[in-house]
Subunit: 226 residues, 2 copies
DNA sequence: GGATGTGAACGACTTCACAGCG
DNA sequence: CGCTGTGAAGTCGTTCACATCC
């Protein structure tokens, strides 16, 4: 998968000085989504084992993760759901809006634009960029596609700190370089390429081909097994 | 997440009997993609450090990974590219075709259907499934959308062992159950839900919301740091 | 010299097990 | 009693360092 880390791991909470691993952060997202649903359903309290069972995660792991948020759980009772949700959102940094630009207006981009899960967590696409002259000027989901030249001014104007790259593999590094020099802070890359960005810029990659091959490998392995 | 283990490492060499970790398999895919490009460009030999540098991976790691393929490298020289590519494909199980069905015909599905990287590695979508009556009967990329009821016969007829789930979160577990009872062997899940499948079925999940939140977290962290 | 393969050290993540509190 | 928080143990994965071979 992708690596990359720029900044120093800061820490918010009082008392315990632990490290948030990448894996914990991913679990935080899973916790949050599930908890928000339970919260909407009116549930007030939840225990580490309930949450763990629902997600297929060991309960001690859940407690270790949540302990990072401060002493938020009550022994003998569990965790107060609304507090927990709020603490998770704050910790993940999604207690505020995250405007983002989307580079590469193909089918994947359309899928992302219409994916409700993003808006719900505060992510909004505020600009569309594509190098194809035939696409520039088109309006998709209320946004006008603009040329990559415009990136610096678009980022300045919209205050977007995040970008999503959804272009073909051979164009991706060029786009990334452009984004970096325009001052982007984080990139979510869907192109099938290993990107190089300076350490101050965060990078998360989702490589579809890799995931599908991983699956093929697992099935391939299990082939002759009882 | 899903597990799976079982088959013995088909390995002729005496001595070293290692296990292929999930992480190694993912790197295998990255290696393969890069090596195929170099191979097409006519390169004959490659070293672990060249490959590692290109991908941002430690060279010892590369050697450890490749050692799993048998004693394929030549000390003082490097790895013979065509052999290496062939060995990787065989090991990953993509030295043969992988027909797959795609459930949920939205924008994401269209993006996947048109993604060239899949075909190149032997993955082909042989059927489209969607529960929406308005979509059933439509033809997308040469395939007619069919009802989920048809899954058992579709899997039987097409010999597809893999399925891709690209439906909304609340429908995903139902689809997975259907696929499992229709005899699927592996599922690639894009729905924002933690799926439960029996251990004989392999599962790989790509959770877009989680990845974007991971990115937000990294940027959020780095915010006030030099 | 240059590059592989690999034990051993290291580090990261997960699970266990239990003290302590409501 | 049930449930949290956490040291300790265990497991897994990565990096180092070096013997070995071309």
């Amino acid at each position: 998968m992708s690596k990359h880390e720029g900044a120093t791991p800061a820490n918010g909470s009082p008392g315990g000085e632990q490290r948030l691993s990448r894996a914990s952060v991913q679990r935080f997202s899973l916790y949050l989504r599930h908890l928000e649903r339970w919260n909407d359903e009116g549930l007030q309290v939840v225990s580490s084992s309930q949450l763990g069972d629902a997600l297929g995660i060991n309960d001690a792991q859940v407690r270790k993760d949540l302990a990072y948020l401060g002493n938020i759980g009550q022994p003998g009772i569990g965790y107060h759901l609304p507090d927990l949700v709020a603490a998770l959102r704050r910790c993940l940094g999604i207690d505020r809006p995250w405007p983002a630009v989307l580079v590469g207006v193909g089918n994947l981009a359309r899928a992302l634009l219409r994916y409700r899960g993003f808006q719900r967590q505060g992510f909004t696409f505020v600009a569309l960029i594509d190098a194809d002259p035939k696409k520039i000027g088109q309006v998709v989901d209320g946004l006008t596609v603009q040329s990559p030249d415009k990136l610096p001014e678009v980022l300045a104007k919209t205050k977007a700190e995040l970008a999503v790259i959804a272009v073909p593999g051979d164009a991706a590094q060029g786009v990334a370089d452009l984004l970096v020099s325009a001052g982007v802070r984080g990139i979510l890359n869907f192109a099938p390429t290993v990107l190089r960005v300076p350490p101050a810029v965060s990078l998360v990659s989702v490589d579809l081909a890799v995931q599908l091959e991983q699956l093929a490998f697992l099935v391939h392995l299990g082939q002759d097994e009882p």
